[in-house]
Symmetry: D2
Subunit: 151 residues, 4 copies
């Protein structure tokens, strides 16, 4: 994994501000759990509001928090004013997403000038136990010179 010095000393505040603007995260009940340079965690309590038809947490929601964790891990290494957009991701579901809480741990694999590769592992927490339920790889593109895409 990439261990870089953040190019924006305000990276943590920047991510918190950006996250607060994501209407979806509020809608599904997701929260920032931790932020460090190149690594971000997002937590989501399991509930019927985010379930699929078998009562598991919906794979799409697992992808939502994994994508956001990977994306913010990438953003944590970007200079001020540079935005990022996910151009593609792939997620493997390794076990049904059941438990009290889902925790997505995102980190950067390689930060590039134009494209950054990041991953996220999603763990289901159940009575204090963690189980790996999903694995995501995402490509993020850096966006420069656009005021509307600066985080």
């Amino acid at each position: 994994m990439s261990t870089s010095t953040p190019k924006d000393p305000e990276f943590e505040a920047r991510i918190r501000t950006s996250f607060a603007k994501q209407g979806l995260m509020k809608t599904i009940g997701a929260q920032l759990a931790s932020i460090s340079p190149g690594a971000v965690e997002i937590a989501l309590p399991a509930s019927p509001a985010v379930s699929q038809q078998h009562g598991f947490v919906h794979g799409g929601v697992v992808a939502c928090i994994a994508d956001s964790a990977a994306g913010y891990a990438a953003l944590s290494l970007m200079p001020p004013g540079i935005g990022i957009l996910t151009t593609e991701f792939k997620i493997n579901f390794l076990a049904p997403a059941t438990g009290d809480r889902m925790l997505a741990r995102g980190c950067v694999i390689k930060a590039g000038r134009t494209l950054t590769l990041a991953q996220a592992e999603v763990f289901a927490e159940n009575a204090g136990q963690e189980k790996l339920v999903a694995f995501l790889i995402a490509t993020l593109m850096t966006i420069t010179g656009r005021d509307d895409v600066s985080d």
Copy 2:
């Protein structure tokens, strides 16, 4: 694309019942738009409740409806009592998801005994115009003999 005869004559009712059990679809405001053998459409009105930080529809939500459309397209060809679970998907984001409504069109590429490959295209509708904004490929695994995973 695969054009098969449905093995369950009640496939439409089965999909509607299953969809109604997905708490997430209600939470994000998604609705079944059409159902035919091997092809299912899901629509989602754009709103701040499903946005990411730039005001676009969150890529994870686009993935939610695309994954569900692909999955139900696969389910439409399954015999009664057989369930399906997504084992992995990959999604490419081709343009920012902005517009009045997102429409995910899922269809089956190849239905297999154990694994089915399905795709979904997601279009952003804006003032009557459609624009392709995302493309998803999903692998679905058939689940047999489990009462809790039968749709």
Copy 3:
């Protein structure tokens, strides 16, 4: 699929010249089968030289011709002097690659300024019958201003 007018009238000659420079295609015995704007086919005779341990054509070789077919489909729509590089691809294997010949049919899903999305289906031909054995999606990045990457 995208049906665009080629921006380089010499696109066919350009692809043939580029293909001839690919040492790998010669090594594995692959050949250009057809070229049209936005769609390219590559054929590969099956042989022990490209096999995996069970005698099937190696999945990696199937990926080689699928990636090249998708990439040349993308290149067929590029202006003169613009090169492309694959930034990522995903391939699903739907059936063992057995038969006389593998045929990869590449086409463009969406041609963008920076990124192009293309797909390739690979068919195994056996006694005149075709069977879909693999499905690939690739992201190609356009490269400008580099003499060493102009095709």
Copy 4:
């Protein structure tokens, strides 16, 4: 990463025997570099015989050794008589594959009963320096009761 005890004490001999049957590995000049439980390395000297049109090692060849390294990492944890087949993989290309030698390092992310998730990182070696050039994630399916697919 998964650190499991091998279920077949002869896993190393089994992998060497299987690798020797892969005609493709000989054709492209790839060799087994190391084998341990859940982790396998494959090396490939760069040469015009495996190049694409710009003189880089072809992305498809990078995928070949990455897929094989990930697959053999999975096989190293399988009981005797159980075969594996790749059902899908995704590869991101992070830098042009130039250098003296490519080294694919495969390891298992999660070994399951039916499906195993494995990854491979590919490094380009140049004058003693290593650079990460590609990252692959593969799903392998276990195959039981078939004499022709037992490795």
